[in-house]
């Protein structure tokens, strides 16, 4: 697309923008300031080729870039200034690292002659982000820009994706150099996609063929490697049930007959019980987070474990494995599907259905179809999912809103669940929803957010206003930091220390931003309210006053095994009893 010929003398700031375009970048989330001004000056001339979205806080920029990247399957791009601009993106860099999200952050930096002198707005961004990024690099010379940008996008997107930080000194932005287009698809010290060994594939196929009760646990890696079809094919041929981590949600159609629901602390009964009942646990593209495993020492002790991952450091990190397969999930699953025998008789015998029946009666029905009382959060999510027929992109913040949304959303299409899993960053939701909508303007984007989390990045309503971004905000307003309140109720003797929260008048707030807002208290009005929200593509806030003291169940309390599950305040399900 770019017609700037190789070898032209350009300013560093122009080389940066040419290099971004050369990588396929079309959208930037950013915020200007002193040491990035030459780049902003150059951007002025590139408005026809690079869409710049001005956020209201740099944290908003990086979460928006994360939402964009997760939906678009292409790195999100952030441009900020040095010092406070740079430190404001740090939460998002850490979030992108732990959730394997490709983003490239370009931060201004003081001129190289001033480095180390505590110059105005100088911070050691490389020092601060090295432990939480895939690659952090300081560009000090104009002639290095094209190389560094090419490398940044390659590293961010390849293998196990992650954030890359480019710290860009002001003199390198101003200085001139020949622009020579650069691409990168090889770094000799970096092996993004290891090859699975023949021996490990053969052994895995044999283990799967001889298993009586195999169970698959999968995660984000399925989506990152584009292995959705291969996973479904593998489950079909092997006749194997499968549970998903929170970040794996939407990789399988919610109606897939092999699907058993989400794993872990607030996952489905079936997924957790099958974990303790299987004789072979096949983990694919997941990392055995403690929210998935509960107490490690009792996790799937009865089973042999195969762990398939692209990242060698994950295999055996938390759970001892009988067989590790290093490789890309898509390739490995395709290969295993070819090798395993068809029509192997399994011994699964109605375990899932039995679990589902208990969960429906004890947990789902009371949450999703209560006969009376205030509206419940799960009820709202199920109603929105119904109205969207599972076609919306679901974005969540963190807290009960996230857990209910994970449990009661339905998915028909991959890359449709955008949430902060590993870091659990409150404030992620609103900006991430902006990024998701920018990435997929043709799809409805429904954000489920709590009254606490929305106030952490609420300034991004300004971005929504200015750019007319049609995000549907479903505010599950319970006047509490609900998730913490739940733990205080269950594990801290009901001592509600600083979790009660007074809320602003959201209708007035929305009005100030020119955004339509509807408050909802009456169950009978919910279908009409949701229909109104979804009727057009404009931004909308649905402020739902939900039952204040509702808890998310099932719950595996901290310190328990995944077989010890609370169904509500009184009833437990204990596996094997």
């Amino acid at each position: 697309m770019t017609d700037t010929p190789n070898g032209w003398m350009l300013k560093g700031s122009q080389i940066l923008l040419e290099s971004l375009i050369n990588q396929g970048v079309d959208t930037i989330f950013g915020y200007p300031g002193g040491s990035i001004m030459p780049v902003y000056d150059a951007l002025y001339d590139y408005a026809d080729r690079l869409r710049h979205i001005l956020v209201r806080h740099e944290q908003g920029a990086i979460h928006a870039a994360q939402g964009y990247a997760r939906v678009k399957n292409f790195p999100g791009t952030v441009i900020v200034t040095s010092g406070p601009g740079a430190t404001n993106v740090i939460t998002g860099v850490a979030d992108a690292m732990i959730d394997s999200t490709p983003v490239v952050v370009i931060a201004g930096q003081v001129a190289s002659a001033a480095l180390g002198t505590d110059a105005f707005q100088e911070t050691d961004l490389i020092g601060m982000t090295t432990p939480i990024s895939k690659w952090a690099y300081q560009i000090r010379r104009p002639k290095d820009i094209a190389w560094a940008v090419a490398r940044a996008y390659y590293i961010a997107a390849s293998g196990r994706p992650g954030p890359v930080v480019l710290d860009f000194t002001k003199d390198a932005q101003i200085g001139m150099a020949e622009y020579i287009r650069k691409d990168c698809n090889f770094i000799r010290s970096y092996v993004p996609v290891p090859e699975p060994t023949e021996a490990s594939l053969a052994e895995a196929a044999a283990m799967i063929d001889s298993a009586r009760k195999p169970f698959v646990v999968y995660g984000h890696g399925i989506i990152l490697s584009g292995a959705e079809k291969e996973l479904a094919g593998f489950l079909d041929k092997g006749d194997i049930p499968a549970g998903s981590t929170m970040l794996g949600l939407s990789a399988l159609d919610s109606d897939n007959p092999h699907y058993t629901g989400m794993l872990g602390m607030h996952g489905s009964l079936a997924s957790n019980v099958l974990t303790q009942e299987c004789d072979l646990l096949i983990a694919v593209g997941m990392r055995f987070d403690d929210r998935v495993t509960g107490t490690i020492s009792t996790y799937a002790k009865q089973a042999k474990v195969i762990h398939i991952d692209i990242d060698a450091s994950e295999i055996g990190k938390n759970i001892p494995v009988d067989l590790g397969i290093l490789g890309d999930a898509r390739e490995v699953l395709a290969e295993l599907t070819r090798r395993i025998k068809p029509d192997v008789k399994r011994d699964w015998d109605g375990e899932k259905a039995a679990c589902d029946a208990v969960e429906k009666e004890k947990v789902i029905d009371p949450e999703v179809s209560p006969a009376e009382g205030l509206i419940k959060p799960g009820e709202v999510i199920a109603a929105v999912a119904n109205a969207c027929e599972g076609k919306a992109i679901v974005v969540t913040d963190v807290g009960q809103n996230q857990l209910f949304a994970s449990r009661y959303s339905r998915f028909k299409q991959s890359r449709s669940m955008i949430t902060s899993g590993g870091l659990g960053t409150m404030g992620f939701g609103l900006p991430a929803a902006i990024g998701a909508k920018v990435a997929a303007p043709e799809r409805p984007v429904c954000l489920f957010v709590g009254d606490g989390g929305i106030q952490m990045t609420i300034q991004e309503l300004g971005t929504i206003m200015q750019d007319g971004i049609g995000v549907k905000v479903i505010l599950l307003n319970n006047n509490w930091l609900g998730n913490v309140r739940q733990w205080q109720e269950l594990f801290f003797d009901g001592r509600y220390s600083f979790t009660r929260m007074q809320n602003p008048d959201y209708e007035k707030l929305a009005e100030a931003y020119g955004i339509t807002c509807l408050s909802l208290e009456d169950r009978a009005e919910m279908p009409a309210a949701i229909a109104q929200m979804l009727a057009d593509d404009r931004p909308f806030i649905l402020n739902v006053h939900v039952a204040e003291a509702d808890n998310v169940f099932p719950m595996i309390p901290p310190g328990k095994s995944v077989g010890e599950i609370m169904l509500n305040d009184k009833d437990w399900f204990v596996y094997g009893k």
Partner: protein
């Protein structure tokens, strides 16, 4: 509890500014004390060698090595008990780089 031993952990790296702190950070996160640290050019041109002596468990030593290898600019990393001596490392790094060159 797995017992702690003295391990010699080595990493072969591209010479990139900032690698020292990133390598050290991997030990800090797991609160492993570094008892000795040496950085010098390896026998392969352009490749640097980190030699680190640390007291830790084998599980940790293995995890640290894998997390070091995960850094983009680290070519390969190894661990062994301090009293073992291996001349295979340099051979293995050389072979790895040859293979990578052929892939390019």
């Amino acid at each position: 509890m797995e017992s702690e031993k003295l391990y010699e952990i080595t990493a072969y790296t591209e010479n990139q500014v900032g690698l020292l702190s990133s390598v050290a950070g991997i030990f800090t996160r797991r609160s492993i004390n570094i008892e000795k640290l040496l950085v010098y050019p390896s026998k392969i041109e352009g490749i640097h060698k980190f030699k680190i002596l640390a007291r830790t468990t084998e599980k940790n030593a293995r995890a640290v090595v894998l997390q070091m290898e995960k850094r983009v600019d680290v070519v390969k990393a190894f661990y062994q008990e301090d009293n073992e001596r291996s001349f295979m490392e340099i051979v293995s790094v050389g072979r790895f780089l040859k293979e990578r060159e052929n892939k390019q």
